[in-house]
């Protein structure tokens, strides 16, 4: 089963074939899941501890930095600030029709998060044979880290 890099763009045939090629080149060794951290309550936060499976691949500091930034971004999304309050009141007064033309604050931050993860993957994780999946694609339950087999070692 094709469980390779999941992105939201629909595949067309050419891409599927190249993905199959990629799969032959970089087979998935395993997946690691970073679970949620509920110690602060129901707010979306992830555990910053580096799993043992990734210790060989990535620096502990680097990983913790990534997860901490993600946690900060999610905290920003769910923050009870004046902006969210104004947005809530405006929405109530317009019977929530305002969201037909405007994005909610949460959605704006989710877009920021998606960009950040893309950036991190390109700069840090892909060169190490790892891939972070945006938690929103897993229902904000886990950060899925796909570990690709290091072909350079087996050749």
């Amino acid at each position: 089963m094709l469980t390779a890099a999941t992105n939201t763009q629909p595949f067309d045939m050419a891409e599927t074939h190249s993905l199959q090629d990629m799969r032959q080149q970089a087979a998935i060794a395993s997946k690691v899941f970073i679970q949620r951290d509920y110690t602060t309550g129901t707010m979306c936060q992830f555990q910053t501890k580096l799993p043992s499976d990734l210790e060989a691949r990535i620096d502990k500091q680097q990983f913790e930095e990534t997860v901490r930034t993600l946690n900060n971004l999610y905290a920003e999304a769910e923050k009870l600030g004046s902006q969210s309050f104004i947005e809530g009141c405006l929405a109530c007064l317009t019977a929530y029709t305002v969201f037909l033309c405007m994005e909610t604050h949460y959605e704006k931050v989710l877009k920021k998060i998606a960009k950040f993860i893309q950036e991190q993957n390109d700069k840090i994780y892909a060169p190490r044979g790892l891939l972070l999946t945006d938690p929103i694609e897993r229902g904000l339950r886990v950060i899925e880290v796909t570990i690709f087999e290091d072909r350079s070692l087996t050749r």
Binding site: P10, F33, T39, S84, I136, R138, R141
Partner: protein, 429 residues
């Protein structure tokens, strides 16, 4: 499988699912393979519970009463008193309708089920923690300390996840819902994190509307009877009598419910937690609500004006071929005659694959027992009863049959039970 008519070349080299030419079958949206028992309309834009009969009753009651009010009472009141009355009535009516539809049609905060990889990873971790021994493992829970209170996170056997705090599994909809309040048959949906504020707006505005209509219909009858006597006033507008009766009975329940939910919001509790007495001081001296912000204003703002999280289930997204779909239910019973045939096909296929791992067979027995023992898996009683006293609390034997699939005779009983309970709740008001 039907070969693509265009292809002249054998496509055996590629995987059986794909052809080198354009696919004949249109892409499916995720709502079409949604594992819960929800109904979707308008190509996934609208999401409701399976049984919507009582919701239509709510709609009919509101529309009929307001229709009668605007047709028979408003002309008199507009002339005799002020035309502002129908205007205010109209605004209230639109607000009630808007919030009702918003509550009923939106995603309450359903948690998507775990992908097969996640589920396997969690099972592995739990096995390591428990130790693989011969006897039945205890129910799976995880303890977490939130703001100084120890909270138990339960493992959901249907969704294959550890439920976040305040989440609960609704057995009517067969979904885990974030910040689960209750399943409301009057609204035809669960009330959870994403639609609680709409639900509260609905019952609050409905209280005002009911009181508004009640008082002005009484005023109409009184003014009319000053002119022509009480009995002839009644004869002239029989609709008013009907409205008074409906409003009289509604006022007690709706206003009571609004008061109850105002209390819940100010103390940042859910109906579920209040009924179970999770944070009541009766449980212990040090028992307090770890989610409360300390003062009433902040609690209210958080519940009503906080950021609205997006839907996690992405029901209108397209299914990616090759992306892992959710894990089938762990009870080992394939879902026969599911509304989504593709889903059942997938389930029966993967059931065969899952025979070898001992976990699937060993989890069957404890799962059933787990459901007998934990009241948390019970559907919460509807929130329409003032003071939240559970009237129609279902018997213990209900939950296991819920898992057994659609056309299983056992599940027919559970569906029948659901509708009976719906009637019981109806008669209680």
């Amino acid at each position: 499988m039907r070969e693509c008519e265009y292809s002249q070349i054998s496509t055996r080299s590629s995987t059986p699912m794909e052809t080198p030419y354009k696919k004949r079958t249109p892409k499916k949206r995720k709502w079409q393979l949604f594992p819960g028992r929800n109904k979707f309309y308008c190509d996934g834009r609208i999401m409701m519970a399976k049984q919507t009969g009582v919701f239509y009753l709510t709609l009919v009651l509101i529309l009929a009463t307001c229709g009668l009010f605007f047709t028979f009472d408003c002309p008199f009141l507009a002339l005799q008193l002020t035309p502002v009355i129908p205007v205010i009535g109209g605004v209230l009516f639109l607000f009630v309708l808007g919030s009702l539809l918003r509550t009923s049609f939106s995603d309450p905060g359903v948690l998507p089920r775990a992908t097969p990889d996640e589920a396997a990873d969690l099972e592995r971790q739990i096995d390591v923690a428990n130790g693989t021994t011969g006897y039945r493992p205890p129910p799976r829970t995880k303890e977490v300390v939130i703001n100084g209170q120890t909270v138990k996170l339960k493992y959901c056997f249907t969704c294959k996840i550890f439920r976040p705090p305040r989440a609960s599994h609704c057995s009517l909809c067969d979904n885990c819902v974030e910040r689960f309040d209750h399943h409301c048959p009057w609204v035809g949906n669960c009330v959870g994190r994403r639609n609680y504020r709409f639900f509260y707006m609905f019952i609050l505005s409905l209280s005002f509307l009911t009181i508004f209509i009640f008082s002005f219909v009484i005023t109409h009858i009184i003014l009319e009877s000053h002119r022509s006597g009480f009995l002839s006033a009644l004869k002239e507008s029989p609709a008013s009598v009907l409205e008074v009766v409906v409003c009289f009975f509604s006022v007690w329940s709706i206003v009571g419910l609004s008061g109850f939910h105002t209390y819940l919001i100010s103390s940042n509790q859910t109906t579920n937690e209040d009924i179970k007495g999770s944070w009541s001081s009766k449980r212990g001296k040090d028992n307090y609500n770890p989610y409360s912000y300390g003062n009433i204003v902040t609690n209210c703002c958080a519940a009503l004006c906080g950021p609205l999280p997006p839907s996690l289930i992405d029901r209108r997204g397209f299914i990616q071929s090759g992306v892992p779909q959710i894990a089938p239910p762990a009870n080992g019973i394939p879902m026969y005659g599911s509304t989504q045939s593709q889903q059942s096909h997938m389930v029966s296929e993967s059931e065969n694959e899952r025979q070898p791992p001992p976990l699937s067979s060993s989890s069957k027995a404890p799962m059933v027992h787990h459901h007998f023992l934990t009241p948390e898996e019970m559907p919460s009683p509807p929130g329409m009863l003032p003071c939240g006293s559970p009237m129609g609390h279902s018997p213990m034997g209900h939950s296991p049959t819920v898992q057994a699939g659609f056309y299983n005779p056992a599940s027919q009983d559970s569906l029948h039970e659901d509708s009976v309970r719906g009637l019981v709740k109806l008669s209680s008001v």
